[in-house]
């Protein structure tokens, strides 16, 4: 037994004192175990709370990313790079071609903090365009229906929102140039928190 300040006193007493000492030792152990249990309980409760709040933060991040994507889908039509300038809610297909197919225009992708931007021609579609998606390049334009304007390769999990607008390009009827318009769908992908 470890010698303590009380050791002498207990030794002095009778046999019952030794029993009291053993009982107190047991009480100390009980209290210690109880306190340990309480401590572990609080630690576990803390871990649970942190994981729940982290989950909340993840959901909040996704919500904010989605909000941003919705706001971008609503406003991107009027941004300088997309608008055809003749009025509101009009996409310039000639500029979209350059943004998606011209290597020198890839810098513009830095402007939008989203996962991807794609514009799809919805109407009018040729027979071939109705059957399958044709990515627009300088070679096949305007006989195509998909403009992949921007894509962030680092994003592995994404959601998407979309919006519709007029999709116009310059044409010439032999006498004068005019804007030939159809309907386009803007798809904005946003990052989902993993």
């Amino acid at each position: 037994m470890k010698k303590t300040a009380y050791a002498g006193y207990f030794k002095m007493g009778k046999k019952s004192n030794i029993i009291i000492w053993k009982k107190s030792q047991l009480k100390i152990q009980q209290t210690a175990f109880m306190l340990m249990a309480i401590f572990i309980f609080f630690v576990l409760a803390g871990i649970f709370f942190i994981s729940v709040s982290m989950q909340g933060t993840r959901q909040e991040v996704t919500r904010l990313e989605r909000e941003k994507a919705i706001a971008t889908a609503a406003s991107i039509v009027d941004s300088a790079e997309f608008t055809c300038g003749t009025g509101s809610l009009c996409l310039d297909a000639d500029k979209l071609l350059l943004l998606s197919a011209d290597a020198g225009m890839q810098d513009f992708g830095e402007l939008w903090h989203v996962a991807a931007i794609k514009v799809r021609k919805v109407s009018p579609l040729s027979e071939q365009e109705s059957a399958e998606d044709i990515e627009c390049t300088k070679m096949n334009y305007p006989d195509c229906n998909i403009f992949s304007v921007y894509s962030n390769e680092d994003v592995s999990k994404a959601g998407a929102v979309s919006s519709f607008a007029a999709l116009c390009r310059k044409e010439n009827n032999g006498n004068y140039a005019y804007d030939k318009c159809g309907i386009g769908q803007i798809n904005i992908a946003y990052r989902l928190a993993e």
């Binding site: 006193y9 002095m12 107190s24 009480k27 100390i28 009980q30 209290t31 210690a32 109880m34 306190l35 309480i38 401590f39 609080f42 803390g46 709040s53 933060t57 909040e60 904010l64 909000e67 941003k68 706001a71 971008t72 609503a74 406003s75 991107i76 039509v77 009027d78 941004s79 300088a80 790079e81 608008t83 300038g85 003749t86 509101s88 809610l89 310039d92 000639d94 500029k95 071609l97 350059l98 943004l99 011209d102 020198g104 225009m105 810098d107 513009f108 830095e110 402007l111 939008w112 903090h113 300088k138 310059k170 044409e171 010439n172 140039a177």
Partner: protein, 329 residues
């Protein structure tokens, strides 16, 4: 009185016996309680940081749809917050980011711990140009949105302010422009301005901020703004930018706008080339020159009507006149 020994103390009926288990639990209990309090206090700080960062992100989501053409009127948008809030605005010149960027962070007043803590994470925006003082504070913030055209739309200028302004002797177009804007009064002489408001004089040195005309027709379409002893050259809606923002933010955002103007000039140049078989705009040379001037001004840093800024303005007028054939913008 008998001497108190350990033995007779134990048999004293009036003595209060405190067992070791009792003392042990008090000490350990106190340690647990204090560590719990300490951990909680430490936990509140990051929690505040997270909520402030979320608020900054929400603010950027609010600002995002503010694009002219989407039904945004000239009336000011008011952002109301429940607690006294500080908005910190930082502008990063083009460099690492091709178009530069605008950073916004928030700090909210709190009753727990320090009144003002470090702001939350900065929310970066590459496609927004917010002209404001570097620190704003209050419960109500006002936003005005105007286009920046050279002559095609380059971007939207967002003016963010928290104080009351008083425009003295403003020209007609400015009066019409800001008639319904929040927290801006229009008056004929400085004495009419409310006490505590920031006065803005046109062609006079009498106010806190003074605007001087440099246009040929006395319209204030271009000129200089003197704020806190510093002169800033402007053209068109950049007038409001020079009034509402610090000179540092003004110059930085102008450099960012020039980076965008440069890239957009190349975009229109390419567009002009691909539509050439359908319509010849005849603007290729001017657009290439515009891109070069924008690049030069981006590097110059300070706009001066005698330098690249002046060339850009005159070139913009020239392009606007010539674009009537194809209307590529």
């Amino acid at each position: 009185m008998a001497e108190r020994t350990a033995f007779n103390f134990r048999h004293d009926k009036n003595a209060f016996e405190m067992s070791f288990a009792f003392m042990f639990s008090i000490i350990v209990g106190a340690i647990i309680l204090f560590s719990a309090l300490y951990i909680t206090t430490k936990f509140i700080v990051p929690q505040r940081h997270i909520s402030q960062s979320e608020a900054a992100k929400s603010l950027s989501a609010l600002i995002d749809p503010l694009e002219t053409g989407s039904g945004i009127s000239s009336e000011a948008t008011i952002i109301k917050v429940t607690a006294e809030t500080r908005i910190y605005s930082r502008c990063y010149r083009p460099g690492e980011d091709i178009f530069g960027r605008q950073g916004i962070s928030l700090a909210m007043q709190s009753g727990i711990g320090e009144k003002w803590q470090e702001p939350g994470e900065e929310t970066a925006m590459n496609n927004k140009y917010i002209f404001s003082n570097s620190t704003l504070q209050g419960k109500n913030f006002y936003i005005l949105v105007k286009q920046f055209n050279m002559p095609f739309k380059v971007a939207d200028l967002i003016f963010l302010y928290d104080e009351k302004y008083c425009f003295v002797n403003a020209p007609r177009w400015i009066k019409d422009d800001i008639e319904n804007s929040g927290n801006i009064n229009i008056s004929s002489y400085i004495g009419e301005c409310e006490t505590g408001s920031i006065s803005v004089c046109f062609n006079s040195y009498a106010c806190d901020i003074n605007v001087f005309d440099a246009s040929n027709d006395n319209s204030f379409s271009s000129g200089r703004v003197m704020k806190e002893g510093i002169y800033s050259d402007y053209s068109g809606n950049l007038l409001y930018a020079a009034i509402f923002s610090d000179s540092e933010i003004y110059e930085c955002n102008l450099a960012r706008l020039m980076a965008r103007l440069e890239k957009l000039s190349y975009l229109y140049l390419e567009k002009s080339r691909i539509i050439e078989p359908k319509c010849s705009s005849g603007l290729n040379e001017e657009l290439a020159e515009m891109a070069n001037n924008a690049m030069a001004l981006k590097q110059e840093g300070t706009p001066s009507s005698s330098g690249s800024f002046g060339s850009i303005i005159s070139l913009s007028e020239e392009i606007d006149e010539k674009d009537s054939i194809c209307r590529i913008f």
